[in-house]
Amino acid sequence: MTDQTVNAEAQAEAYGALQDKEPPKEPRAQWKDVWDQFRKHKGALIGGGFLLFITLAVLIGPLVWQVDAKALDIRNKDMRPLYTLLWDSTARTSWAKPLGSDNLGRDILATLIAGGRASMAVGWTAMILALSIGTAIGVCAGYFRKLDGPLMRLTDLFLSLPILPLLLVAVTLFRQPLRANFGPETGMFILIVGVIGITSWMQTARIVRGEILALKEREFILAARSIGTTPFKIIRRHLLPNVISPIMVSATLGLATAIITESALSFLGVGFPSDFPTWGKLLSDAVPRMEEFPERVMLPGILISLTVLSVNYLGDGLRDALDPRIRGR
C-alpha cells in the first residue's frame, strides 16, 4: 500500500512540470466577457437603462397612474404642467394633472403613457418581424448558392419600394378586412407592423448575407462539413452565433426606424383612429398650438428622440461587446 502511494507521489513529481499548480484565473463564460465589455460603454449603459425604464413605464404606468387617456374633461382643459409654476406662478396647473391637459381636457401624462405603449409595441414587433425575415433571407442567400441570385434580386426589389406610399396603398386595401376581423385598433396595429416589417428587412438581409459568404469559406466550417454536419446544424451552431453582432445592431436601428415610421404615419393622419394616442399623433395634434403650449410638442418629441437615441447607443455598445475581435480592446 505504502509503495503505491510513494509511486504515485513520485509520478506526480516526475510529471509536475506538465501540470498547472492551480488555475491562474477562473474560467470565464462568454456572456460575462460580453457584459464586461458592454459595461465599459457608458452611452450604451445609459441608453439601455433608459429603454428599460421607458418600457417598464409604459407597461406598469397605467397601473400606477390610473387615468383614462381618452377621458375628456372639458372644464379642466388647457392646464399647464406643474413645472411651469417655477417661472410663472399664475399658470393654470393642478396636481391631478401633473403634466397638464390638452385642449379637450385629456390628461397628458396618461396619453403619453398610452401613446408610448402603442409606439413601443409597434417598434418592438415590427423590429422582430423585420429581423426574422432579414436574417432568414440573408442566411439562405449566403449559404445556398442557388438561392443567392433570386433572393438578392427580391431584396433589391423590396429596397426600391418607397415605404410611405406603399403604406398608404396598403391602408386603403387592407384596412377593411383587417378591421372586420380584428377590430379597428388591433387591425391597424397588424397592418402597420406588417408593412413596416416587410419593408425594412432588406438591410439586415444584405449584411447577414455578406458575413455568411465570408464565414462559410473558413476552416472551421470546412471542418464541420467534413465530419458530416448537416447545413441546418452548421447554420445554427456555427454561422448564426458569428453573425449575431451585425444582427443586433440592425435590430436596434430597426426599432428606431419603426417608431419613427409609425410617428410619421400618425403625423400624416393615416394609421390609428384619431382618438387612439400614439407619440406621433400627440406630436402632430399639438403642432398648431406649439407656441402657446410648447410642452405638448416637447414631451412626446423628447420621448421619441430619447428612445431612438438610447436604442442607437445600445446598438453601438452591443456591437462592441458582441464582436470577439473588438472585445477586450
Partner: protein
C-alpha cells in the same frame, strides 16, 4: 432751365406717387403674380363632374355664368347685360320662361364669340341621361334652352318658376364651350381629360398647367372683355397641405396671398392674425356643419354593388333609419360646447339644415340646442335599446349600437369627433372614429372607397352650403333620384340616401310656387322633414373664414357664390 424742369418733374412724380399707389387702374397683368392656397387640391377643372367646393372655386377663375352673387347675396349681371325681371320683360308674366341677353363682345379665351349655342350645349351636357352631372339640380324644371335673336337666350320651364335664376347663375352653374366639349356627352364626360383639365372659358384667367391634386397655373386671359383687368398676370393656385399650414403661409410667413377655408380652432387663428401680415375674413352664408346618418347599409360584407347603395329601400341601415336612434344621438350632443371649442366667433349652434336667409329658417327644432343626456337614454330605453349583454353599448335583437363615424382630417373636426364620441358613449352608443385626408374625402373620385359620396361608414360629418340665395335647388338635393350610387358614378348630393315621396312632392310644389312667403313655408317644411327624420343632424352654422395678405386689395368674399368670385378686380396694394 432744363435742370429746373427736371427737378420739378421729379418732385411732381414723388408727390403723385401715393395717389398712383392707391389707385388700381392700369394695364392688364401689371401686378405680376398672385398666390392662392386651397389646402384641398382640386382634382378637375370641370365643376359638372365634381360635387366639391374646391373644384367649383378653381373653375370659377375660368368658367363664368350669366350672373353672380356678390358678398351681400345680391345678384350681379356677369355675362348678361342685366338681370331679367318681370318688370323689364325678361321674365314672362306666367313665370314659365326667362330671357337673358348676353353682353356684347364676350369671347372665349380662344377668341371665338360666346353664343346661345354654348348655353344650349351646356344644358344638354349637364342633363344628359347617361351622365352624372353634379350640378343637374340647377336645371330642374328646365324644358328647353333656345336661342332668341343674336344674343338672347330663352330658358323655358315646364311649370311656373318663381325663382328662375338657377340655370347659368352662380359658380355652380357655369357655361362651357360647345366646340370643346361636343364629344364629351353622357358617359364619355369623365374621359375627356384634356377638356376637363383645361376648359376654355370666358373668365379673367386661362389654365396654363393643371396638375390634378397639386398645382394649377393660370395666366391672364388676353381676350378678357374688360380692359385693364385682371390686374394679375399669373395665378398660382396651390392645393394640398392642411388648414393650419395654409393659414400660416398667409398670416405668418406671407408666402401666399390668399388662403381658403381655414377651419382652425379660434385661439389658433387669432394668434396667427396677431402677427400682422394678413387679415382673416369671414363670410356667413348657409354653411352648416352636420352629421349625415347613412340610411343604407354600409356593411363591408355587401360588396361594391350593394354597400351603401339605396336599391329602392331594400338595403336599409340596421338601425339609423329609426328616427328614435337619430334623435337620441342628437340630444346627447352639446352644440354650444362644440362651438366654443372649435369655432368661437366663426360659428353658432344650429338645429337647422337651412339656417339662412331668415325667411327660410325654421324655428321648430330649436329644442336641440340644449343637451339632454338623460332624455336620450330614456328615449333609447323606451324603444327597446338596452345593454343586454353588458358590453357597454346598447343592443336590440342582436344589433349593437356602434357606429363608424368618419370625417375629413382637420384638427377641429377631430376634436368634435372626440367630444361627440364621449357623449355618445355616455348614452351607450359606441363609436369608432375615422378621418380621411380632405383631398381624398371630397375628391369625388369614383374609384376611391373613401369619398364622402361613397359613404362607406355609418355617420359622416362635414359642411355643405349652397351658392345663391334661393334654397330651391339646394333643398332638391334630397330627392330620391339624387342618391349617389354606381348607376350615376356616385355623383349626386343626397349623401345620406334620404328618400320620401312626401319630400319629393314638396320639392315639386316649391318649383311651382311663386309667393315668397309660401316658398319660405315650404322650405321650412322640407327642412323640418329632414331634420326630424334624423337622417341629418345639424351642428354648427359656420362662418367661412379665409385669410388674405394685407397687400391684396379688392377681396370681397362671398359665401353665396365662389368666394373668389371677383378675382378679376383684385389688385396689389403697393407699399
Amino acid at each position: 432751365m432744363k435742370i429746373k424742369t427736371l427737378l420739378m418733374g421729379t418732385i411732381a412724380t414723388i408727390a403723385c406717387a401715393p395717389a398712383f399707389a392707391d389707385g388700381h387702374e392700369g394695364e392688364r397683368g401689371r401686378d405680376g403674380q398672385v398666390n392662392i392656397i386651397y389646402w384641398q387640391a382640386p382634382s378637375t377643372m370641370n365643376p359638372f363632374l365634381s360635387g366639391g367646393t374646391k373644384e367649383i372655386e378653381a373653375a370659377s377663375l375660368v368658367l363664368e355664368s350669366l350672373a353672380r352673387f356678390d358678398e351681400t347675396g345680391q345678384m350681379v349681371p356677369w355675362l348678361a347685360e342685366e338681370i331679367p325681371t318681370v318688370e323689364n320683360g325678361g321674365v314672362s308674366e306666367d313665370l314659365t320662361s326667362i330671357t337673358w341677353t348676353i353682353k356684347e363682345g364676350v369671347t372665349w379665351s380662344d377668341g371665338s364669340a360666346l353664343t346661345a349655342e354654348d348655353l344650349i350645349f351646356t344644358h344638354a351636357y349637364c342633363t344628359h341621361p347617361e351622365g352624372g352631372c353634379s350640378q343637374a339640380s340647377y336645371f330642374d324644371g328646365v324644358t328647353s334652352v333656345e336661342a332668341e335673336g343674336e344674343r338672347g337666350v330663352k330658358i323655358t320651364f315646364g311649370a311656373p318658376k318663381p325663382f328662375p335664376y338657377t340655370a347659368f347663375v352662380g359658380a355652380e352653374s357655369p357655361i362651357i364651350q360647345k366646340a370643346q366639349f361636343a364629344d364629351c356627352l353622357g358617359a364619355r364626360a369623365p374621359e375627356c381629360t384634356e377638356a376637363n383639365f383645361g376648359p376654355i372659358g370666358t373668365g379673367p384667367f386661362v389654365v396654363e398647367d393643371f396638375r390634378p391634386n397639386d398645382v394649377i397655373t393660370f395666366v391672364a386671359n388676353d381676350s378678357f372683355r374688360e380692359a385693364g383687368k385682371p390686374a394679375f398676370a399669373r395665378v398660382t393656385f396651390k392645393g394640398g397641405g392642411d388648414a393650419a399650414a395654409a393659414a400660416r403661409s398667409v398670416l405668418e410667413t406671407g408666402e401666399f396671398d390668399y388662403a381658403w377655408n381655414l377651419q382652425l380652432a379660434p385661439d389658433v387663428l387669432d394668434r396667427m392674425e396677431a402677427v400682422g401680415l394678413g387679415t382673416v375674413v369671414a363670410a356667413y352664408g348657409t354653411s352648416v356643419e352636420r352629421l349625415h346618418l347613412n340610411q343604407t347599409n354600409p356593411d363591408p360584407a355587401l360588396g361594391p354593388d350593394k354597400r351603401s347603395v339605396y336599391m329602392d329601400g331594400e338595403n336599409a341601415h340596421p338601425f339609423l333609419t329609426d328616427p328614435v336612434v337619430g334623435q337620441a344621438l342628437s340630444m346627447a350632443i352639446d352644440r354650444t360646447l362644440i362651438d366654443e371649442v372649435g369655432y368661437g366667433a366663426g360659428g353658432q349652434p344650429t338645429c337647422n339644415l337651412l339656417p339662412a336667409p331668415e325667411l327660410y329658417a325654421s324655428t321648430a327644432n330649436d329644442g336641440c340646442l340644449t343637451q339632454d343626456i338623460e332624455g336620450a337614454k330614456a328615449l333609447l330605453e323606451g324603444a327597446g335599446w338596452v345593454d343586454s349583454n353588458g358590453n357597454g353599448t346598447r343592443d336590440k335583437d342582436g344589433v349593437e349600437l356602434t357606429v363608424l363615424y368618419q370625417t375629413s382630417t382637420n384638427a377641429v373636426r377631430q376634436d368634435t369627433q372626440a367630444l361627440v364620441k364621449d357623449w355618445w358613449s355616455q348614452i351607450g352608443v359606441g363609436a369608432e372614429l375615422r378621418n380621411v385626408d380632405a383631398s381624398v374625402f371630397f375628391g369625388g373620385d369614383p374609384g376611391s372607397p373613401d369619398t364622402f359620396q361613397k359613404f362607406y361608414a355609418d355617420i359622416e360629418m362635414y359642411t355643405n352650403n349652397f351658392a345663391g340665395v334661393d334654397p330651391e335647388a339646394y333643398m332638391a338635393n334630397w330627392r330620391c333620384r339624387d342618391i349617389p350610387g354606381p348607376a350615376n358614378q356616385w355623383q349626386g348630393n343626397n349623401i345620406q340616401r334620404f328618400c320620401r315621396e312626401e319630400y319629393d312632392a314638396l320639392v315639386d310644389q316649391m318649383a311651382t310656387t311663386a309667393n315668397l312667403e309660401e316658398r319660405g313655408e315650404l322650405a321650412k317644411q322640407m327642412n323640418d322633414m329632414i331634420v326630424q327624420s334624423y337622417s341629418i343632424i345639424p351642428l354648427i352654422h359656420r362662418g367661412n373664414p379665409s385669410a388674405h395678405i394685407n397687400t391684396l386689395g379688392g377681396v370681397k368674399m362671398s359665401d353665396w357664390d365662389a368666394e373668389i368670385w371677383n378675382i378679376k378686380d383684385w389688385y396689389r396694394i403697393s407699399e
